[in-house]
Amino acid sequence: MTYITKPQLHHPGLAKNALGFTRRDYEGSVSTLCAGCGHDSISASIIQAVYELELPPHRIAKLSGIGCSSKTPDYFLGNSHGFNTVHGRMPSVLTGANLANKDLIYLGVSGDGDSASIGLGQFAHAMRRGVNMLYIVENNGVYGLTKGQFSATSDKGSKSKRGVVNHDAGIDLVGMALQLGATFVGRSFSGDKDQLTPLIKAGLMHKGAAFIDCISPCVQFNNHVGSTKSFDYVREHNEAVNRLDVITPRAPIRVDYAPGESVRVQQHDGSILSLHKLAELYNPNNRAQALGYLQARQARGQVVTGLLYVDPNAGDLHEAMGTVDTPLNELGEAELVPGAAALAKINAGLR
């Protein structure tokens, strides 16, 4: 048997959220990834985020492409419908799912190979259409599942495990998402749960295209000296521009860092993003400035993380299309089928 079911033990001591769910209820099957893989930490953050947001698990749809990263939706939110689609095409499938039912929360999980190579086109178009979703790329700079080839997000000059130097310019998905019109853009690191979990929470609550580029080291193929996606490299070069707390009407604020200057942003659904500024000059409401800042820091070899841009009043694809409030998959004959009388009129117009 290749599938391992997680034993459903009863833990009377486990804390429940307001819906009566424990953290366990948001878990999935046991991960089959390598021990220490960054992707597993991201799954844990997703579980934590949804638990803290007190979302009913079945109201989330999780979709992915193909890769180690794309396998992870099986390892979290076992009570949510999931869809492991084809390589690089998660964005279109998620878009279709979203068109069918605007009432679910859509979480897309992808890899850097999945999104920056084969799926770059679909990544771009989902962003520019403003599909209401949170799209996370678990970025390790390699193709993990096919055993360690460079991916398109590998930085120029970075070295493979076998010592080969990458000569191609790296694709920065954060920069692309900003240019393409994503209305929530963040970057984080799988090794920084405190930064990542609130970002995921905010992204899930955001209306519109939310994107998080999460650097997620591949311990198997890209965690050596000379790689710019290793744990050590990212820790050394990480420049967090802010720390985030998400305040929902239900979940109280949690502060675990030294107080400093903070900005509050109210999102569409009523949630409040409380941003604690770490880089004094950084303003997450300005797309152009964000791009400039990122490029300047990148040139210095720094990895800028945090909530990099948010438009709290963004709209989404459904708004642009003017679709009805009822999810399209709930409409029945009365709303969809014009009937025989309408057809008779059409016939009359075709004679």
């Binding site: 079945h58 999931g82 492991n84 095409r89 279109s92 799912a97 068109l99 259409r129 057809l343």
Partner: protein
Amino acid sequence: MAERAKQPRVNDFVVKFANVNGSGSASANGMFARAIIRMGVPVAARNIFPSNIQGLPTWYEVRITEAGHLGRRGGVDLMVAMNPQTWDRDLAEIETGGVLFYDSTKPMPPTRFRDDITVVGVPLTALCNARYELPRERQLFKNIVYVGALAALLGIETSAVQELISEDFAGRQRLIDANFEALQMGYDYVGQNLKPLALQVRRADKVGDRIYVEGNAAAALGAVYGGATVCAWYPITPSTSLAEAFTGYCQDLRTDPETGQARYAILQAEDEIASIGVVVGAGWNGARAFTATSGPGVSLMTEFIGLSYFAEIPAVIFDVQRGGPSTGMPTRTQQADLIGAAYAGHGDTKHPMLLPADPGECFEMGALAFDLADRLQTTIFVMLDLDIGMNEWLTAPFQWDDARTLDRGKVMTHDELEAGRDFGRYLDVDGDGIPYRTYPGVHPTRGAYFTRGTSRNPYARYSEEGSVYVDNMQRLLRKFETAKAIVPAPVVRKAKRKTTDGVIYFGSTTGAMHEALEALEGQGRHLDALRVRGFPFADEVLEFIAAHARVFVVEQNRDAQLRTLIMNEGGVDPAKLVPVLHYDGTPITARFISGQIAQLMAIGSVIEAAE
């Protein structure tokens, strides 16, 4: 030049217009055809156009046919030669004794004509230059002037044309007046200078309540009635007008009257891969979704089609076929995607196909496809072609039974899950190979599953164990078996006499085939005929083949794709199936079919006699 005084040919001839693309001739030519329909005389009209917007030659062929033959006949009785570029080949196409109509403004040496045809010249350019100032007006009204002239020559009632002008330009009186004037100008010129032709249109009552519509529009309307809410597409001839028609019909019929909101979502995707991805995502999530494309698009979609097959997700693809392979003949017709669609995808895959013969069936099958996709939880292809899709056809009026409901197939509901009903996404509980599915978000703790293209067990859990995989693949075969009985059944047309010869055909070949059967019968050649309307083939198809000694398979591709499918799926002896193939990109004609079959039958009897 031949004498004009000949026996009149009433309501049975072919007129072909040779024009330059972008000259505005299309609407005038269309009016010509529709005026004849208004006189109660059936027409079969076809556009023959290049893959560009302006400047290249286009043709429009109108077959006037009181007998109601809707296929192409072949040959031209009256050529309206408006394109100097194609003059020589247009002239050559006229049947002996036929008529050439041309713009006689510039004198032409007699060597440019043929002496076995009648030549009718009307100085169209001179007439228009005298009346109109603006070059664009001169160009546009020239088309209406020749329609007026043709009306006088062929006995078409000007009131029928005027009626159409008034309807088409309703509310724009100045345009109506101007078009009336141009029409009259041509009509009067003929009245004063020429005699009517032997080719005549005479009022009849052979149209009945039939409607005149393009297959693409009909299929799009079928999708509306079939409850489709999500459409994702990428422009490609000849399918574009299907998505555009769907957009138009949705705006009219699917806008919430109170809020003005849309009960549909139409997305022009970045390519065909994204189009089918959106369809698969929407289908997975319980909406009825489709894409419209042509061969090149289907090629790009194949990975997703395989996913839809294996993960069992409803999807509908309208494949409006054009001439392949590659870019091939993008504005010509063929039935050459049959094998590609039937087996699209890597690994062992097969997909049901619906094969409409005319716009009436495009509507019916366009709606039915969505029920079948939900019932069979797989991709359903509706195989149109350019001939049906982009030409207006006379067809029986669309019909809808208001008691009909949308058949969503096997969907387990919240209440069933709540009551504790066992849910295994790929469990064959009914023995028909079709499992139950749940819509995402249905229940807080039951019914969720992980959809994947990877092998899995009946409870949707990843498994690459050989026996689990094989069981699942066998179940998919059972499901395909179930499909046999629910795709549209074939239609059989018995010969007047008992015969051991049969013929199988499908789709846009139908009109020409029926006419060919009549012609063959006139020669004493009798064939039973079977029209295939669905894949997988119903048992009747194989029974029909078994009941005949020889079966011709008539289709519009080089490689006899339907014949191959029949051999492959039915284990039929290839020697029994005689291919009759037409694939030059023009719609197949009755003359071609009857000629080929007559010849093959004659050879057959020579061989028999020698044996």
